[in-house]
Symmetry: C2
Subunit: 415 residues, 2 copies
């Protein structure tokens, strides 16, 4: 894409009420627009990153046997009353609204209730199990404060998967597979090195749930990490009994601030009991379906990558989630430079390498500052000087490493 | 995909409160789940169709030079007050909600206001124009009644594009290109033969706007079609002056009920004046940006295809929007039949043909009824009989035409 066709501009300053580092950078680089406190618009660059994260998540959920659906945001009061979660005294993040005839509606902050009710129409026998259903859908949460930028917003996309098994053994097996899939997702988006599977509070059915926590001073949680064993415990549940239970030693644990980038829960029959989701086993006996739920917020992942991997010059995108793989920066508008840069842009497009091509009539310093701020993984500078040398100046945003490469070398590296 | 992995079941009956033909069929075939009156969940088959329609729309919008973004549903009261559209007296489809500190928020039923305000940060000079920005995003409309199934719902995806030009000549040119793109979209989704560009009420800036109306008795609008000239007029604006203006003869017009599947508007400077979106021209003079807006509801298109192209047996999907291109129906579970059907499924997957493979242990009559109801374009029956003949029984859902084809013939037809 030619950068002059990208309508967004970079900015020197983010809005003064924006206190988080991730949103400041994402707004300044033209990835996000702040609509309201805790409410953002995804601009073209931001939407491209979001879609890449969604693609990775979809691939991993499909590999687990997940089937994708899309639920409504508008929620039926009745189904939430059945589980006791309609009352704002119990759930304090509801946004609610009304039909013209005064019927109350909610805006979904999660979807256990409607999906459990819906599955009554599709599960009746042990032959219908297991089932794994997921969506990437917009959630609404009436957060009191919204100071963490894109990491805690009032409206955000969420991938939520729900598992339906005939027994706890089936749930356990899937839960472990889902946990592995989550670790693969965080690895692929570039957060693998700093993300830990973390024991957290489990609710009524299970002793623990698991969070996936990425170490960052911008995080809202505190976790204790055993780096050697690659596991962590949320401060909320840390006590001597838990340490014994998990066979952890207090002296091996290091305290960190961390961002919760995903979580998985064993729900057991909590929702299937409340909403009557049962199946007939081989003996014709009615049994409750055993459930689990598995969440990741793609925009929170985006914000975490921005927060954790950025530097003083701007954003730093890992290749698999970058909005474009390559940033061609053309210096000057002489005929040779233009035709060389145009040709490389065409070549990269033809080989399927997503490329942003800065052909704007700006000074080199402005172009480099924009490129640093936007943070595409590979930058290719084309100038009279590089043309004379017969090579491109190729640099990596993450390390700053610069190499002079021929077109052949560049194409090989990108393939 | 193996049909046993598809968790949805077909149903003999739709919910009793579902009066529309499109939703009855889509629910019975397992494409949609009804959550509330006017609120539906897309099940896997329905979501696949929706995504195919979205892909066609994206391709056509990108070919117009459109750039995709994603706005929030939550709306800032202030920006809507600036144009006089906050008050529910003027706009009667608002859903509204509140932050915990009692701040009013709306749920967007359209996005002229927030996008115009946002573009102030990205347009300041004639060099920044033109710009074409679009999204496929969930709209909320508090409809009094919801009786048209998926064609008029309270929550639905909408593609809305906004054009920003320096003058009316630029707007006119883009408006005509967008109109052509819309006609291509309706052609590609299978509605070309029954969809007419229709003159409709134009608002303050322009004498007419244009709707794209698909002829159907289930439609809520009445239009008058001049079939020869391939143009129509909405009953709302039809009078002698309009006939003269458009050079139409009353005797050439035939009255039809029709479904509005898209619309395009010239907005002029209505929103840019109200919200201060201006640019500096070559002389340094501030000028208002000239705008247009262009809408299509992908789920309404889906419902219209279901409504218009279905028959007494069920849905009939055109190839380009079908959830799967091919339905393999295996009869029996003998070794030869299973290995032949498994092999064809693998071959079609390997050649990139989306295939649903009915390997369920059901009677042939049930399988054929399900296949008819679901409406995939090409059905391939594999049985002992077809194996003996060395061919497949291949039928087209749209015409019912049946042919015995070798694998080579089938693959050639599908490629």
């Amino acid at each position: 894409m030619r950068q002059s066709q990208l309508f967004t501009r970079t900015r020197k300053h983010a809005p003064s009420d924006e206190v988080s580092n991730n949103a400041q950078l994402l707004i300044r680089a033209g990835f996000l627009h702040k609509e309201l406190a805790g409410v953002y618009t995804f601009l073209p660059l931001g939407l491209r990153v979001l879609e890449r994260i969604n693609t990775i998540i979809r691939e991993e959920m499909n590999s687990l046997g997940g089937t994708e659906i899309l639920c409504s945001a508008l929620q039926d009061k009745a189904v939430w009353e059945a589980t006791g979660r309609w009352d704002s005294g119990d759930v304090d993040v509801w946004f609610k609204t009304k039909l013209k005839n005064d019927t109350d509606l909610g805006l979904g902050f999660t979807h256990e209730e409607p999906i459990t009710r819906m599955m009554r129409e599709h599960i009746s026998s042990y032959r219908d199990l297991p089932r794994y259903v997921y969506q990437i859908q917009t959630k609404f949460r009436n957060e009191l404060r919204a100071k963490s930028g894109i990491m805690r917003t009032r409206e955000f996309p969420m991938k939520d998967l729900y598992s339906f098994n005939r027994d706890t053994a089936g749930l356990e097996e899937f839960y472990n597979e889902a946990s592995d899939a989550y670790l693969r997702i965080f690895e692929r988006v570039g957060l693998g090195a700093s993300t830990y599977k973390t024991f957290a509070s489990g609710g009524s059915f299970s002793k623990y749930s698991h969070e996936f926590q990425t170490i960052s001073d911008a995080g809202e949680d505190t976790i204790y990490v055993d780096k050697q064993r690659s596991v962590a415990v949320n401060k909320e549940v840390l006590n001597d009994d838990v340490l014994t239970d998990l066979d952890l030693q207090r002296e091996d644990l290091v305290e960190h601030r961390a961002i919760e980038v995903g979580n998985i829960f064993k729900l057991g029959s909590k929702f299937s009991d409340a909403l009557g989701l049962t199946y007939k086993d081989e003996q014709g006996q009615e049994q409750p379906v055993i459930m689990g739920s598995y969440g990741i917020g793609p925009s929170r992942v985006l914000g975490t990558v921005a927060e954790v991997l950025s530097d003083s010059k701007g954003l730093v995108w890992p290749r698999e989630v970058a909005p474009f793989a390559v940033h061609i920066v053309r210096l000057g508008d002489g005929e040779r430079v233009v035709s060389s840069a145009d040709a490389l842009h065409a070549t990269l497009r033809a080989t399927g390498v997503d490329t942003l091509y800065d052909e704007r009539p700006l000074r080199p310093g402005e172009k480099f500052a924009d490129a640093d701020l936007m943070g595409l993984p590979v930058r290719v500078v084309i100038s009279d000087k590089t043309i004379e040398s017969g090579t491109y100046e190729v640099s990596l945003r993450s390390s700053g490493e610069v190499q002079m490469q021929t077109e052949e070398q560049l194409l090989e590296e990108l393939s």
